[in-house]
């Protein structure tokens, strides 16, 4: 029970650049979002929107160089992670902040048994003996419903199926009961029936440990079921941020509306799909003004010159569109 007023995670005006041969790529260009304790924030975006880079900057696992955080703050319970010492930060990582990666096979150590990898968390962070740590690892595997956990603790990652490997990643993330888990496309590589199992498990553990969750995804469907709040990213910026139900019912940004209209729905068959014209911009040459303006059906002159600020667009929601009001009114459905 925390009584502090500071949110669990508060990312403020974060900027990340990459120096590439083609110039400076502004992967994250002034992103702000907050996660309250025990809540789920979904960060939604297409490839290249900067959603994963933001997460890497929060976790402190950004490759520098080529990456560079040029501005911004990442406040975890009020403490700025970006200015604290690496030693301090390392102690928080794993214990207070944990991450689940998309590709479990490359995130797990291929030459260590999964039991040893899970146990290592307890040995390093809590100073447990190897045998105690091993016993805890088996309990944990049991908790994420890996059948015959005791026997399988001696297996290597490649001996598990994709769904089982992702469970091990989840086990590793919840091992030390962190306050915040960042899950980067946790189910993208999985089949739908397995995806449902894994999302179910993640939601259950999140409730059980009252963990805050940042769920990074490109899938509008997955988000609808589990998130409390959504931030939609495009070209390194937050385009819109809103509570889930409101965002789906009445998007306040033309990009969000375009995305929602462009996906075929299982529960209703339409004629032609709405397609957002054109392509996402190259991050080395993001258009001036609103980055979405070349693809936007509502773009006016102002959109090509002035970068829209985040306008408050209702309780708990903001929209980075000069015409958020018109969009909101136009998208009542």
């Amino acid at each position: 029970m925390t009584t502090t007023t500071a949110p669990l995670l508060d990312v403020r005006d974060l900027h990340v650049e990459f120096h590439t041969r083609d110039g400076v790529a502004k992967a994250v260009n002034g992103v702000s979002y907050t996660v309250e304790a025990g809540r789920t924030l979904a960060v939604l975006g297409e490839s290249g929107s900067g959603k994963s880079v933001t997460a890497q900057a929060v976790m402190g696992i950004l490759d520098t160089p080529p990456g560079r955080i040029t501005a911004g703050q990442v406040l975890f319970r009020g403490q700025d992670l970006l200015t604290m010492g690496e030693e301090h930060r390392r102690r928080l990582r794993g214990a207070k902040l944990a991450m689940i990666f998309q590709d479990a096979l490359s995130a797990l150590n291929p030459v260590m048994t999964v039991g040893a990898q899970l146990g290592e968390m307890y040995e390093v962070h809590q100073g447990m003996s190897r045998s105690d740590a091993r016993a805890r690892a088996v309990q944990l595997m049991d908790r994420v419903r890996i059948p015959a956990a005791k026997q399988r603790a001696g297996d290597y990652p490649h001996q598990f199926s994709g769904g089982m490997r992702q469970r091990i990643m989840i086990a590793m993330a919840v091992a030390l009961e962190p306050d915040l888990i960042i899950a980067d496309e946790p189910t993208t590589a999985l089949d739908v029936t397995v995806q449902a199992q894994v999302m179910d498990l993640l939601a259950e553990l999140r409730r059980e440990y009252a963990t805050g969750l940042v769920l990074i995804t490109h899938d509008l469907g997955v988000v609808a079921d589990v998130a409390d709040h959504i931030a939609v990213m495009y070209a390194g910026r937050v385009m819109e941020s809103a509570p889930v139900a409101e965002l789906y019912a009445r998007p306040a940004h033309p990009y969000t509306r375009g995305l929602l209209d462009s996906i075929p729905r299982l529960d209703r068959k339409g004629r032609e799909l709405y397609a957002i014209k054109g392509l996402p911009p190259s991050l080395t040459a993001v258009p001036p003004g609103c980055p979405f303006n070349p693809r936007c059906p509502m773009a006016q002159d102002i959109c090509r010159t002035d970068r829209p600020p985040l306008h408050p667009a209702g309780p708990g929601r903001v929209s980075a569109c000069h015409f958020w009001k018109e969009t909101l009114e136009g998208s009542a459905r």
Binding site: E46, A249, I263, P264
Partner: protein, 335 residues
């Protein structure tokens, strides 16, 4: 009036041998990738095949275009069994059945220009376009799929994923085929680009009277584009019917579970649907379960399911109903 069948597939089987030993190779088993699949594809129609990874849907695609020879079964194109053909006869048939691949990053030769890639089918089928015309034909094809014909001399890496998939589609169209087999054509693309490619494929279908076999794991995309849908599990069809029959009246437990697992981008609708969470993983196709392939994960399974293979047939109680369609389950019922 139903249009004539273009492709008739009967009892298609593809087993890949598992061998042991280096000098004296002996077969110790087989991966049952496709194990008795039958369907008909009519002119101008889209058949969607959905299934999870390892269900054999891509093997079906490869068999249809002749990249693999089936272990058993027939593929009839206009009445002629193409699995027995070879030489010029096979080449003629292949001209009419073309493929679009999943991954636009690996299915285009990085050292060939777009013009050479799209024009390559004319090298193999010189009768399709006289030599002097080819360049012009390639330009037309690029235009048809929504690419700038001026980019004919560019290389694949100069294009985005969606544009590359358009190049793959242009190549598939080059020989004016009747059937296009598309294996996960949009799954590597971002959502906003996916819609562009799906719309393009639908427009081309109308324009050229194409028939599609559209293979994907994304049930929503398959519903959107397909006239008829087959659900595949471990090498067999679990259920087949029109898109309404499959999506609104599924009778096979696997179809029901699969549909309930698909996330719907609507928080209100999501909560209203009854989720079926399956236990366990898909069994290995090298050792498929006896009887019904799905029985190891099915909540309805009985001893009968282990003993008898359920046939893909219309259940008796459904025969006269409005949604009569085939389901390979002993206990087929709507939820």
């Amino acid at each position: 009036m139903t249009p004539e069948p273009l492709l008739q597939v009967t009892d298609l089987v593809k087993h890949y041998p598992l061998t042991r030993g280096i000098l004296f190779r002996k077969q110790v088993g087989a991966v049952h990738a496709v194990d008795g699949v039958s369907f008909t594809l009519r002119r101008g129609e889209t058949l969607g095949i959905v299934g999870e990874s390892g269900c054999g849907k891509s093997t079906v695609a490869r068999l249809l275009v002749g990249l693999e020879r089936p272990t058993a079964g027939q593929i009839r194109y206009r009445g002629e069994d193409i699995t027995k053909l070879s030489g010029p006869a096979l080449r003629t048939v292949r001209r009419n059945i073309q493929m679009v691949f999943q991954d636009p990053y690996t299915s285009l030769n990085p050292r060939m220009t777009v013009g050479d890639i799209v024009g390559e089918p004319f090298e193999i089928h010189p009768e399709a376009a006289p030599k002097g015309d080819r360049r012009q034909r390639v330009r037309e094809l690029l235009d048809v799929v929504g690419l700038n014909p001026e980019h004919i001399n560019r290389y694949p890496h100069q294009f985005s994923g969606g544009q590359r998939q358009r190049i793959g589609i242009a190549r598939g169209l080059a020989l004016r085929p009747e059937v296009i087999v598309a294996d996960e054509p949009v799954s590597a693309l971002d959502v906003s680009v996916q819609a562009q490619v799906v719309n393009l494929m639908q427009r081309l279908q109308g324009q050229f009277g194409l028939s599609y076999v559209f293979i994907a794991h994304d049930l929503s995309v398959v519903r959107h584009i397909s006239d008829r849908v087959a659900v595949m599990y471990l090498g067999r069809f679990a259920e087949a019917g029109t898109d309404e029959e499959i999506y609104d009246h599924p009778t096979h437990p696997y179809t029901q579970a699969l549909l309930s697992a698909v996330p719907v981008p609507d928080p209100a609708a999501g909560a209203a649907r009854g989720r079926i969470i399956l236990t366990g993983d898909v069994p290995s196709p090298a050792a498929p379960p006896s009887g019904c392939r799905f029985r190891t994960r099915c909540w309805k399974a009985t001893e009968r399911c282990a003993a008898e293979v359920p046939a893909l047939a219309v259940p008796a109680w459904l025969k006269d109903g409005p949604a009569a369609h085939a389901s390979a389950c002993h206990y087929a019922a709507e939820r």
